[in-house]
C-alpha cells in the first residue's frame, strides 16, 4: 500500500528545528491571542460571501479590513491585497521584531525566506482586466506585475520588508505550498546554507479561486462541514501565517515547539482528484514519521487537511486509518473555522498545531454536526484538553502534491 520508494525518502531521521516565533492571521483572528480565543470558543470566521463582485452562493473566511492596511511607503511597488494581508500578519505577536533580531544575530545573508501562495496578488490582474483601455485593450499604467501577480511577489515583499539577503523563493504547489516550505527550509539549513528561515504562507481571496472551485462544483453553499455526512465542499478563506524556523539553540524553553518530521510525496494520479486509495497521503505520513524517528502510536493528534469535499475527506480518512489504525487517535480539521486558506493552509495549520502543543488542547471541528460513519477516524467535535507531545498536520493539493509535518514539544 505504501508507495514511497527508497530513493525518495529523506534522511532516516532529520535534526529537529525550533519554531522560535510564529504568528497567524485569518478570519478567526489577527495574531495568536485572537486565534486562540476563537479556537477555544469553537467560533467560525465564515460568513456569506460578499467579496468584491462575486455572485456565488458560498461562504468565505475573509480577514476584516485587509484593504485598510497601508503598505509601508518604501514598498508600495508591492501594493496588493495579498501583500497587505502579509504585512498585517508580520506585525502580529512581535514577529517582525523576532525576524530582525535573528537577522542581526545570524547575518542577513544567513536567513532564508520561503513562503507558500497559490494565487499571490492575481486579484490585481483580475481588476486590471476590468479596467482595460477601451481603445487599445491595454492594462492600466498603475498595474505592477512583479509586485502583485507574480508568485514571487509575497516572498520578495517579506524579504525586502526585513532587508534580508539570504536565499528566497515562493513555493507554489497549490494547497500544499506552505507546508512544503518547511521541507525546503529543513534542507537549506541541513546543507549549511542558512541558519534560520522565515517560512509560512499567504493567500488571499480572489475571483480566480472562487469561480475556479465553483467550476469544479467544489464550493459548499453552506459553511463547510469537514468529515460530516452531509459535507458539500469547501469554503474558501484567506490567511497569513509565519514561522521563524531556526537551528536548535543550546537550551530550550519547556514549551518550545519543534519541527520533528516532514514527509512529501506525489500521487501521480490526477490533476484535481486525490488517488482513490490515498497512496500519496499515506506515503507522506509514513515519511514524516520516519524522518521524526517516531512510530504511529506516538502521535497524539492530527490536524487534518479536511477540506470538506466528499472525495478529499473520504480519501484522507482511509489514509489516516491505514497509517494509524481505525479511530486510533483524535483528529480534526480547523477549516470549518478558518475556511480553506489554500496556499496558506499548511502554514496556518502548522501554527494552530503549535498552539495546540503549547496550550495542551485539541481543537474540535467547527460546523460538523453528523460525522460520516464511513470515515474511520476519531474526529473531534468538541475541544479536548490534554497535554500533547506530537501533532501531525496534513496538507494535500491539486496535482497530487502531499506534505505532512510533525511538530513536537521540546520538554
Amino acid at each position: 500500500m505504501s508507495a514511497h520508494s527508497p530513493i525518495a525518502s529523506p534522511l532516516p531521521s532529520m535534526p529537529a528545528l525550533l519554531l522560535s516565533h510564529f504568528t497567524a492571521t485569518s478570519s478567526i483572528g489577527r495574531g495568536l491571542d485572537e486565534t486562540l480565543v476563537s479556537l477555544r470558543e469553537q467560533r467560525s470566521g465564515l460568513k456569506p460571501c460578499d467579496f468584491d463582485s462575486a455572485d456565488l452562493q458560498t461562504w468565505t473566511g475573509a480577514v476584516d479590513a485587509v484593504d485598510k492596511e497601508a503598505i509601508r511607503s518604501d514598498l508600495r511597488a508591492f501594493n496588493c491585497r495579498n501583500n497587505r494581508l502579509a504585512q498585517i500578519g508580520l506585525r502580529q505577536d512581535g514577529f517582525d521584531q523576532a525576524v530582525l533580531a535573528a537577522a542581526a544575530r545570524c547575518g542577513k545573508r544567513r536567513v532564508g525566506v520561503f513562503l507558500g501562495t497559490s494565487t499571490s496578488g492575481i486579484l490585481e490582474t483580475e481588476l486590471a482586466y476590468r479596467a482595460r483601455d477601451p481603445a487599445t485593450g491595454a492594462l492600466p499604467a498603475g498595474f505592477v506585475y512583479a509586485g502583485s501577480h507574480n508568485p514571487f511577489s509575497v516572498t520578495a515583499f517579506v524579504r525586502d520588508y526585513f532587508g534580508l539577503e539570504g536565499p528566497a523563493m515562493t513555493v507554489s504547489s497549490a494547497c500544499s505550498s506552505s507546508a512544503k516550505v518547511f521541507a525546503s527550509a529543513r534542507r537549506m539549513i541541513a546543507a549549511g546554507l542558512i541558519d534560520a528561515a522565515v517560512v509560512g504562507g499567504v493567500d488571499s481571496l480572489c475571483l480566480t479561486t472562487l469561480y475556479g472551485f465553483n467550476s469544479l462544483d467544489l464550493l459548499s453553499p453552506d459553511p463547510c462541514r469537514p468529515f460530516d455526512i452531509a459535507r458539500k465542499g469547501i469554503s474558501i478563506g484567506e490567511a497569513a501565517a509565519f514561522v521563524l524556523l531556526e537551528k536548535l539553540p543550546g537550551s530550550l524553553d519547556a514549551d518550545a515547539v519543534l519541527l520533528r518530521g516532514v514527509g512529501e510525496s506525489s500521487d501521480a494520479h490526477h490533476m484535481s482528484a486525490p488517488h482513490p486509495e490515498g497512496r500519496g497521503a499515506i506515503a507522506a505520513m509514513h515519511q514524516a514519521l520516519a524522518s521524526a524517528g517516531l512510530q504511529p502510536g506516538s502521535i497524539d493528534y492530527i490536524n487534518l487537511h479536511g477540506t470538506a469535499t466528499p472525495s478529499n475527506d473520504a480519501v484522507e480518512g482511509s489514509a489516516v486509518a491505514e497509517v494509524f489504525g481505525e479511530r486510533a487517535l483524535p483528529c480534526s480539521s480547523t477549516k470549518g473555522a478558518t475556511g480553506h486558506t489554500l496556499g496558506a493552509a499548511g502554514g496556518l495549520e502548522a501554527v494552530i498545531s503549535a498552539l495546540a502543543l503549547q496550550q495542551g488542547f485539541m481543537p474540535g471541528g467547527v460546523n460538523t454536526d453528523s460525522l460520516d460513519p464511513a470515515l474511520p477516524v476519531d474526529y473531534l467535535l468538541h475541544n479536548r484538553d490534554k497535554p500533547l507531545q506530537y501533532v501531525l498536520s496534513n496538507s494535500f493539493g491539486f496535482g497530487g502534491t502531499n506534505c505532512s509535518l510533525i511538530l513536537g514539544r521540546a520538554q
Partner: protein
C-alpha cells in the same frame, strides 16, 4: 559532507561545499530543439538562428490530455524526458524541482478575460491548469513519479532558485533530482507588462555521485552561495537576448560552460544584488 566528491583538493576546502554532478540535460527554446543539437549552438560550433520555439507533442500523456496540454506542459515534459533519458534513470523514481516565473500565460489570460466578462464561468480544466504546479502534476501523472516535487518561483531568478533547491535536495537527501525550469509567453495585454517573447525550458538531472554519464560537476559554497559579481552573459547577441528576456534562459551561461567543458565560476541571475555563484568543473 561531500563524501562523494572525487577530488581530494576540493574535499580539503575550508568551507563546507555542496557538490553535484550533471547527469543529463534537456533544452527546448527559440531556435533550440534539444540539448543534443543546442550545445553546438551554445559553444559557437554551429550558428544560432533565432526561430519560434517548436514544442513537441507530449506523447507520454493520454490522447485527451495531450490535446488539451498547453505550452507549459509540452515544454516541461519534453526537456524533462530528454534529461532523464540522458541520465539513464527512471523518471518514476526521481524527486523533482519545477521552477517557473509565471506558469501558463495563455491559460492565465483566458481566466482573467473570462472573469472580467459578463459570463464568469471558467472551465474546470482551465482552473486546474492554472495552478503553478500544473507541469509538475502532469509530469508525475505521466511518468508515475511518486517522490516529492517542489514547485518554485523567484520571478527572473526562478532558474537559480530551482538550481539551489535541486542541489540542496540532491546533497541533503542523497538522491538524484530532476530540475525543470520553464517559461512561456503571455498574450496581450499581459505581454506588455511582462514581455517574455517565447517559450523556453531547461532540465538538469543532478546527482550527488559521479557516474560514467556525468557531464560536469557543480559546486556551491554553503557559507555564502551568492556573489555580487556581475552575472555571466552570452557573447552571441541573439542568445543574450533570450537570456535577458526569458527567465528560464538565465540558465544559458551555465549550459554554455557545461557544453564547452570549461571549468570556472559562473554567476547566474538570482535575486536583487545576489547572483548564484556556481563553480563548474569537469566531472
Amino acid at each position: 559532507m561531500t563524501a562523494s566528491t572525487p577530488h581530494p583538493v576540493a574535499a580539503a576546502a575550508v568551507a563546507p561545499a555542496l557538490t553535484v554532478f550533471v547527469e543529463g540535460i534537456g533544452l527546448v527554446g527559440p531556435g533550440l530543439d534539444s540539448w543534443q543539437d543546442g550545445q553546438a549552438q551554445l559553444t559557437g560550433q554551429a550558428d544560432y538562428v533565432s526561430a519560434k520555439t517548436v514544442l513537441p507533442p507530449p506523447m507520454s500523456l493520454p490522447a485527451a490530455e495531450r490535446r488539451r496540454a498547453g505550452a507549459v506542459i509540452k515544454v516541461s515534459l519534453a526537456v524533462g524526458h530528454e534529461a532523464v533519458n540522458a541520465a539513464g534513470l527512471q523518471a518514476s523514481t526521481l524527486p523533482s524541482v519545477f521552477s517557473s516565473s509565471g506558469g501558463d500565460g495563455i491559460n492565465c489570460h483566458d481566466i482573467c478575460a473570462a472573469l472580467a466578462s459578463n459570463d464568469r464561468l471558467i472551465s474546470p480544466t482551465r482552473f486546474h491548469n492554472s495552478v503553478h504546479n500544473a507541469a509538475s502534476g502532469y509530469w508525475s501523472i505521466s511518468t508515475g513519479a511518486t517522490p516529492t516535487s517542489s514547485v518554485l518561483c523567484a520571478h527572473d531568478g526562478s532558474f537559480s532558485a530551482g538550481l539551489l533547491e535541486a542541489i540542496t535536495q540532491a546533497v541533503v537527501d542523497d538522491t538524484p533530482v530532476l530540475l525543470v525550469a520553464y517559461d512561456t509567453d503571455y498574450p496581450e495585454p499581459l505581454r506588455s507588462k511582462r514581455p517574455i517573447p517565447d517559450t523556453l525550458g531547461v532540465a538538469l538531472v543532478l546527482s550527488p555521485r559521479r557516474s560514467e554519464r556525468s557531464l560536469a560537476r557543480l559546486h556551491l559554497q554553503a557559507a555564502d552561495c551568492t556573489t555580487s559579481a556581475a552575472e555571466n552573459t552570452m557573447a552571441d547577441a541573439s542568445l543574450e537576448f533570450l537570456r535577458q528576456t526569458i527567465p528560464a534562459a538565465r540558465a544559458l551561461p551555465l549550459l554554455q560552460a557545461i557544453a564547452s567543458r570549461q571549468a570556472g565560476a559562473v554567476a547566474l541571475a538570482y535575486l536583487d544584488g545576489a547572483h548564484l555563484a556556481v563553480e563548474v568543473g569537469l566531472p
